[in-house]
């Protein structure tokens, strides 16, 4: 292994960029730290320290360079990007990639478009809603209603999120819309079991990844990120619950 053949600022840049990308796109905290220290050691730095939280990453190596901080503002879920960063870190580990080339590739991943277009996602969400409705004991007659509610709910959460940057609000209004639509469809007679339709349709909004990640982080000792992800998940669940609750209380 070539010892310190690359300037340290470049190595730090690679690590921070890789960490930021992974954290933004829904990786677990321990994986982010692991990847960053692996990259550093592949470039010949055996001692590195990282402190990863959902809103920012601190990274420091030895004592010659000051620690650097990178801020993470928006978090989405894009597991494809996580996988790509993972494979780049593999390439670095085998010694195939210089820091400069790695930064270039990482920047390309960052700019890369989402894996699936909005239309495909919408269809997936709608179909999944219908399927969940059946899984939770609904009847096939309600399938179209659940697909419709789920699709509209998912479209609404994306639209509202673009409109106002407050996550709570977009989730609240989307689930409000789902509840309203499900109630209307039941009254009109296109749906039979309003409860099942609502449950199926809100499933695409449920923060499943956040919950798993929060627990995974807590159990591996990343208490700060675990708690903050948990709080995020609770807030989302509360938003969904409140939106539906408004409808139920008037039924």
């Amino acid at each position: 292994m070539n010892n310190h053949s690359y300037p340290t600022p470049e190595i730090i840049e690679v690590c921070l960029l890789a960490g930021k990308l992974m954290m933004q796109n829904g990786a677990e905290t321990y994986r982010v730290e692991d990847t960053m220290s692996r990259i550093a050691s592949a470039y010949g730095i055996s001692q590195s320290h990282s402190y990863v939280t959902p809103t920012g990453i601190f990274f420091a190596i030895n004592d010659s360079e000051p620690a650097k901080l990178i801020r993470i503002v928006e978090r989405t879920t894009d597991l494809h990007k996580v996988t790509e960063v993972n494979s780049i870190s593999r390439k670095i580990s085998t010694g195939d990639l210089s820091p400069r080339a790695a930064v270039k590739e990482l920047a390309e991943i960052e700019r890369g478009p989402l894996r699936y277009s909005n239309r495909v996602q919408l269809m997936a969400a709608a179909l999944a809603s219908g399927c969940f409705m059946i899984m939770f004991g609904g009847v096939w007659r309600d399938f179209p209603a659940a697909v419709l509610c789920g699709g509209i709910g998912f479209a609404a959460v994306q639209y509202f999120h673009r409109l106002v940057k407050v996550k709570f609000f977009s989730e609240f209004s989307a689930s409000f819309l789902i509840g309203l639509l499900a109630a209307l469809l039941t009254i009109v007679g296109w749906g039979q079991m309003m409860d099942k339709i609502i449950i199926g349709s809100v499933m695409p909004l449920v923060p499943g990844l956040l919950i798993t990640n929060a627990i995974r982080d807590l159990m591996s000792g990343h208490l700060v990120s675990g708690l903050s992800k948990g709080a995020d998940a609770c807030l989302t669940s509360f938003g969904i619950g409140a939106g539906v609750a408004v409808i139920i209380s008037y039924m």
Binding site: L79, Q121, M203, T212, I215, V244, I248, S249
Partner: protein
Amino acid sequence: MLAQLFTSFIATAGFGILFHAPRRSLLQCGFVGMLGWLVYYSTTDSMGPVSASLLATILIGIVSQGFARLYKMPVIIFSVAGMIPLVPGGMAYNAMRQFVQQHYPQALELALSTLMIAGAIAVGLVLSEVLNQIFHNIRFRPQR
């Protein structure tokens, strides 16, 4: 039963798309989800939802780790899609419904069961990881 298998496969693969899982992992995502749901669905009546969730998540975790090794992808891609159907959404909804209608005792009962199931899912995920670590440590120790 066939309908359950079919819908759980589609639903989990659909969730893979929502999480932007790589295209070549979608079938596996669906398979993990189907397996988990199959276990949960067939044991929940006899064991109760908490133990059934625990069993299903342990299985999901083990299979996901196998897939992660096999396809060289992060575990989370498979495990997260697989556990989505087990999230106690229906129970949480019912709990909330009772709260809104001011039936507080029933609401609290449902809310606590929801928490228990969520806890079981968590424990299941971690347990499968621990099992995996133990398995690999035992298997690889003689070589070191």
